[in-house]
Symmetry: C2
Subunit: 356 residues, 2 copies
């Protein structure tokens, strides 16, 4: 048995993998693999439509919101967002809360001015900003709802800004109930809670588009993707299908509300365990702790080698911390069952007892 | 039995599908699905490296050539090529040979001037240009080696230009031996001869990069992808793996030379059959006929309904012509066995006999 705590690509439900593997051999009894069906044929058009509509339902989106499945990951969105929303003579407000938001800021500067309205860089990205205010003349306000590397998460989304709120939700979309309609644009790589790598989810309020004078290449123009029903060109067929399977699974589990409850239980259990063991240190401030990516270190780093070895022997994978933070990072995505976490927790307790 | 003549996504070898399905359940005996493995972990890094190196070997590329696996399809390359190669005050030479080259031209105009140095638009894109000359001051010369919709293919590649030759090879890469080292840049969506939708192949001579002053967003900068070994961000893991499986299959079959021989046989057989049946019409001029996408129509369109119905009953799929051309289009990609084509040919002959 393998216990997968990878930060992303991360764990997916076994049902999703089984159904995906079946479709690679025979898609819907067509006698063809999903890898060789035409994307303009009815069976795949139905997949695309069900995927978009299920996402809309699960996020409880208002009718005018558009759901797109694109390519290139959040890194593509780092530039596609300002290309579509930030005119050359405008300023966009960004929050600098970790590696990912810093990358988003860098790409936005290619297109216009950036005003960093809140930053936790000085404290090593160990918390999210307490509050944010941005000018009413900003093109938009950008936040990263969950910083996968730092292990921080916005607990109070700054909805109150009077400019469109744009969010990178790559590592926490579908994990908790938010008022998704209060965002102008949401983007997320699929490879954590939404499916496999290769599809990128974009939710956009079309009212915020078309306001820059920029000549946007077709493939990067959200308006054209909307017009073509997310089929401007050949979509990443299999990756979209895995998103569909993941969304169906999510709905069957009770949707986002059920996920939020489970994720709360899992993260409470893990944080409480870490807090209860004096060997461990939690670098992130309590009010900003991520429920998706739990970061901790050993106070005595010399214990790491032995702990890592024991985890490996127990079949626990993907807990090594990002090189910029060190220590450990345990990702608790939607598909991770409590029982898998309990294996890790038991090992942590046993280790503490022997080394305490 | 289903006979798949789809124009793309198209047929893949059964071994590729079987191995891909196995990896969705358990990747390399790791106990994890390929959909949930970390892309920076050794097993996937090895996949990426083997894929790039096999492509280099199969295309017989010189050592300085770089192979990238990106996202977004050829449509992304339509803009990424000029963004990287065409300065605002420069002109790029393009050949206008069909729907796909016309799209490439449209996107290039976002970045600089375009000089259409040859066009077959006036004759309905029914042939490739007899010759091409372009100014030595052009940033590059762009061709579409095979027009999937029109059913035309460059038989004599215009290697002689003194500027970098850039080619969209989406629908004929790996199908015939070309001097791939004489191209400055080659791009191809994977979903015909190279794998499944979701990965895009780019082969580039790095010497031609870095010559515009443009500030290029990271995700669109070939130089950064080269620097990061095609892992600038999370790659489309599964789609890359399917490319690897397809390349391994291709090598086992005898590489491009073996494919070219088979594709010649298949296309000869089909064109000869069509020519021998007076019911059919071949719109493409003989010297430009594609060996990948064979386009034909009925002289009497009223026969189409009955022919289509009989094909459907025989399990023949994907032969409907593109709406802009009408009639039929039979795609003969590498993975299509001669035996599948023979089923179609027998049906065509029987149909002709009953309706001749």
């Amino acid at each position: 048995m393998v216990y997968n705590f990878n930060a992303g690509p991360g764990i997916l439900p076994p049902e999703v993998m089984e159904e995906a593997a079946r479709a690679v051999l025979d898609f819907n009894g067509s006698g063809l693999s999903i890898l060789e069906v035409g994307h303009r044929e009815a069976p795949f058009v139905a997949v695309m439509e069900e995927t978009r509509s299920l996402i809309k339902e699960l996020l409880q989106l208002e009718s005018n919101r558009e759901v797109l499945l694109l390519q290139g990951g959040a890194t593509m969105q780092f530039m596609q967002v300002p290309m579509n929303l930030l005119a050359t003579n405008q300023t966009a407000a960004y929050t600098d809360t970790g590696t990912w938001s810093a990358k988003a800021i860098k790409e936005a500067k290619v297109f216009g001015a950036v005003d960093v309205v809140a930053s936790t860089k000085e404290i090593g990205y160990t918390s999210m900003p307490a509050s944010v205010t941005c000018s009413d003349t900003s093109a938009y306000l950008h936040i990263t709802t969950n910083e996968t590397i730092a292990g921080t998460q916005w607990q109070n989304i700054p909805y109150q800004s009077r400019v469109p709120l744009v969010a990178d939700m790559s590592s926490d979309i579908f994990s908790r109930a938010l008022d998704f309609n209060r965002f102008g644009l949401i983007y997320a790589g699929a490879q954590k809670n939404a499916g496999a790598a290769g599809a990128t989810l974009v939710v956009v309020n079309p009212d915020i588009l078309g306001k820059t004078d920029r000549n946007i290449p077709s493939i990067l123009d959200y308006r054209l993707h909307i017009k073509e029903g997310s089929m401007l060109n050949t979509p990443p067929v299999f990756a979209v299908y895995v998103v569909l399977l993941t969304m169906r699974w999510l709905k069957k589990q009770g949707g986002i509300a059920a996920m939020e409850k489970r994720n709360q239980e899992k993260s409470d259990l893990l944080y409480q365990t870490i807090e209860s063991i004096p060997l461990f240190h939690l670098p992130v401030s309590k009010e900003s702790r991520s429920k998706m990516n739990v970061v901790f270190t050993f106070k005595d780093p010399s214990l790491e080698a032995s702990f890592s070895q024991q985890c490996k022997e127990a079949g626990i994978v993907g807990i090594k911390g990002h090189r910029s933070v060190g220590g450990y990072r345990v990702s608790l995505y939607n598909a991770l069952p409590l029982s898998h976490l309990e294996v890790l927790i038991q090992l942590m307790r046993d280790f503490a007892q022997r080394n305490g």
